[in-house]
C-alpha cells in the first residue's frame, strides 16, 4: 500500500483520552507523526490566576484524575516554600502516604491498560481487581477514590484514625503477594515478552536529549528521581530505592513500573508504621510574600514542575504547569518512526499518557455561535427550559 494517513484519534479505542496523532504510514511501517494536543484544554492556568490559594487547590487537583494529589501537593509545597512555612511532620507523612498510594493505583492502572493494548485482557482484569484494594484504602482515608482533597496550605485537612491505619496495613500483604506475581508474570509470559521487547527503544543519550522523564527515562538507565534528588515531604526519612532498568524499551518501562509498585508498598508500610503524632496543620497566612519558586514533584508519570510566582497578594500571579506527559511526547514522536503500526498503542501507552494533564475549553455559546462564559444561573435556566419542553411533549 502506498503512503496513507491514518488518523489515530481523537476518538480511538487505543486512547483513553482524546489526542490526535496523524500517522503517515507506508504499509505497516510508520514514516512520520503529527501531533495535536488541544482536545482537553480547559484554561486551568488562566483560571488559577483569579482564585486565591484556598480556592485554587481544588482547581489544580482537577487537572488530572489519576495524578490529582501530585498537582495539589506540588502547588501547596511551593507556596509553603515561598511563605517559609514549615508544616508539621504528621502532615508530611500523611501527604506521603496518599502520594504513594496514588502512585500504586496509577501503576496498577497502567499495567492493566498496557496489557489491554496487546489484547491480554486477563492481566487487565486482574490488575484492576487489585487496584480496587488501593482505591478502598484511599476512600477510607479521604472519602473519594480520586481527587482526594487532602491538602491545604499549611498541612492536610483530614487526619488518619488508628482504625484507618490498621485497615490499610491489613490490605498490604495481599497487594505485596500480587505484585510479586505480576513481576513474575511480566518476566515470563511469552506473548507479553514478544510484544514488549525491542519495541520503542530509546538509548540513554536519546532520553536525555529529548527530555523524557519518569519511568520512561529510568528504563534507559537515567536515574533522575525527584524524590531522591530534591527530597520533599517525608522522603528524606523513608528508606527506598530508585528503580532503573537498562533495556530502554517498553519491556524495561514495564519492569520499572512493577519495581516501583514494590517500592511504593514498602514506603507506605514504613510511613503507616512510623507516623509521628502531632498536629496536622500549621496556621498559614492568607497572602504570600513576593517571590518565585520552581516546585518539582515525582508524579506517577514523571517529574512534574510548577513554576509559581507570587506578588504579595492572596492570589498567585502565575502558575506554570509542566506535566510529565508533555515532556515525554517528543520522545514518543522519535521512537515511533520506523516501528510497526501494531506497536503504536503499545509505545504510546508506555509513556502512560495523561492528556488531561497535558492540555489544560473555553465555553462557547453554541446556540448562536458567540463565545463567552456561561454562568451557573444561565445553565440552570437552560436546564429548566429543557425540562419544560420535555414535559409538554
Amino acid at each position: 500500500m502506498a503512503e496513507v494517513v491514518i488518523p489515530i484519534g481523537p476518538q480511538h479505542p487505543a486512547l483513553k483520552e482524546p489526542v490526535n496523532f496523524r500517522i503517515i504510514a507506508d504499509g505497516e511501517k510508520i514514516v512520520r507523526l503529527e501531533l495535536d494536543l488541544s482536545y482537553n484544554h480547559r484554561g486551568i492556568e488562566k483560571a488559577a490566576e483569579q482564585r486565591n490559594f484556598i480556592r485554587v487547590l481544588p482547581l489544580l487537583e482537577r487537572v488530572c484524575g489519576i495524578c490529582s494529589h501530585s498537582h495539589a501537593t506540588n502547588f501547596a509545597k511551593g507556596v509553603e516554600e515561598i511563605m517559609a512555612l514549615e508544616i508539621p511532620p504528621r502532615a508530611r507523612y500523611i501527604r506521603t502516604i496518599i502520594a504513594e498510594l496514588e502512585r500504586m493505583h496509577s501503576h496498577l492502572l497502567w499495567l492493566g491498560v498496557a496489557a489491554h493494548e496487546i489484547g491480554f485482557n486477563t492481566l487487565f482484569m486482574w490488575t484492576w481487581r487489585d487496584r480496587e484494594a488501593v482505591q478502598d484504602t484511599l476512600e477510607e482515608m479521604s472519602g473519594n477514590r480520586v481527587h482526594y482533597g487532602m491538602n491545604e496550605i499549611g498541612g492536610v485537612r483530614r487526619d488518619l484514625t488508628p482504625a484507618q491505619i490498621q485497615a490499610a496495613l491489613s490490605r498490604l500483604p495481599v497487594l505485596e503477594e500480587r505484585v510479586r506475581q505480576y513481576r513474575q508474570m511480566v518476566e515470563s509470559e511469552e506473548t507479553l515478552l514478544m510484544r514488549f521487547r525491542g519495541v520503542g527503544r530509546l538509548s540513554k543519550e536519546e532520553v536525555l536529549k529529548y527530555g523524557a522523564v519518569g519511568p520512561t527515562a529510568r528504563a534507559s538507565g537515567v536515574d533522575y528521581d525527584v524524590r531522591k534528588d530534591d527530597p520533599y515531604l517525608a522522603y528524606a526519612e523513608v528508606p527506598f530505592n530508585v528503580v532503573t532498568d537498562t533495556s530502554g524499551d517498553v519491556y524495561g518501562r514495564t519492569r520499572v513500573r512493577v519495581g516501583e509498585l514494590g517500592e511504593s508498598l514498602k514506603i507506605v508500610r514504613y510511613c503507616l508504621e512510623h507516623i509521628p503524632e502531632g498536629p496536622i496543620r500549621a496556621d498559614a497566612p492568607h497572602t504570600a510574600p513576593e517571590g518565585e519558586t520552581l516546585s518539582r514533584y515525582e508524579a506517577p508519570r514523571g517529574e512534574l514542575a510548577h513554576f509559581i510566582r507570587t506578588n504579595g497578594t492572596d492570589k498567585a500571579e502565575r502558575i506554570d504547569i509542566r506535566t510529565p506527559t508533555l515532556a515525554n511526547w517528543t520522545s514518543v514522536a522519535v521512537c515511533l518512526v520506523n516501528q510497526n503500526l501494531a506497536d503504536i498503542p503499545v509505545i504510546v501507552a508506555a509513556i502512560d499518557p495523561c492528556l488531561s494533564c497535558t492540555s489544560r475549553l473555553t465555553v462557547v455559546n453554541r446556540n448562536d455561535g458567540t463565545a463567552g462564559v456561561i454562568t451557573f444561573d444561565e445553565l440552570r435556566r437552560r436546564r429548566d427550559r429543557q425540562w419544560d419542553r420535555q414535559e409538554l411533549r
Binding site: 494536543l37 508533555l326 517528543t330 453554541r366 463565545a371
Partner: protein, 156 residues
C-alpha cells in the same frame, strides 16, 4: 566538582547570577546571550536536561525562564526579559530538542515568536482559535464577536 558556587561564578559573565535556593541558581540575561549561556551550561557545567520553559506576563514586559538540570542536581534558571509588542526570542530547539514543544505552547498562549523554530503551529489551542488572541496574557478577555471553536447551531 561543580558546586553551586562554581556555577554562579561561571555564569556571571552573561548577566547577574545569584543563588536563590540550596540547589537553584538564577541568572538574568538578555535574549541575544541566552543561547550562549545554554551552550555553556550544557558543555561546561554538565547540564544535560531541560526541565521546562516558563513564561510570565508582567504587564509591561514578558519574562521567559529556561530551567536546566544535570547530574549535579542543581537547577540553573536563565531569565530573559522581552518587550511587550512583538516579543521574540531566538529558538533553542536545536540545542535542546524538548524546547520545540514548550516553545509551541508558549507561542500559542502568549504570542511570543521564536524565530528559527521549524514548526510553530498550534498545539494546545484548537485550530479554529482566532489568530491574534493570546489567552494567557493578562489583558485578554474573551470577546463576544470572536468564535473560539466548536460547532455553531441555531437556537432551538
Amino acid at each position: 566538582m561543580t558546586t553551586i558556587s562554581t556555577i554562579t561564578e561561571r555564569l556571571q559573565g552573561f548577566g547577574t547570577a545569584e543563588q536563590v535556593r540550596s540547589n537553584r541558581v538564577r541568572l538574568k540575561t538578555t535574549p541575544d546571550r541566552v543561547r550562549d549561556a545554554i551552550t555553556v551550561s550544557q558543555v561546561m557545567l554538565g547540564c544535560d536536561r531541560l526541565v521546562t520553559i516558563s513564561a510570565l506576563d508582567h504587564g509591561t514586559t514578558f519574562e521567559l525562564l529556561y530551567h536546566l538540570i544535570g547530574p549535579h542536581r542543581i537547577i540553573i534558571s536563565l531569565s530573559v526579559s522581552l518587550q511587550r509588542d512583538h516579543p521574540s526570542s531566538p529558538t533553542v530547539s536545536d540545542l535542546l530538542p524538548p524546547a520545540g514543544i514548550y516553545e509551541r505552547q508558549i507561542h500559542d498562549l502568549f504570542g511570543i515568536m521564536f524565530p528559527g523554530n521549524p514548526d510553530l503551529k498550534k498545539i494546545i489551542l484548537n485550530e479554529d482559535w482566532p489568530a491574534d488572541e493570546y489567552p494567557l496574557r493578562k489583558d485578554w478577555k474573551p470577546r463576544p464577536e470572536s468564535f473560539y471553536g466548536g460547532i455553531k447551531t441555531e437556537r432551538l
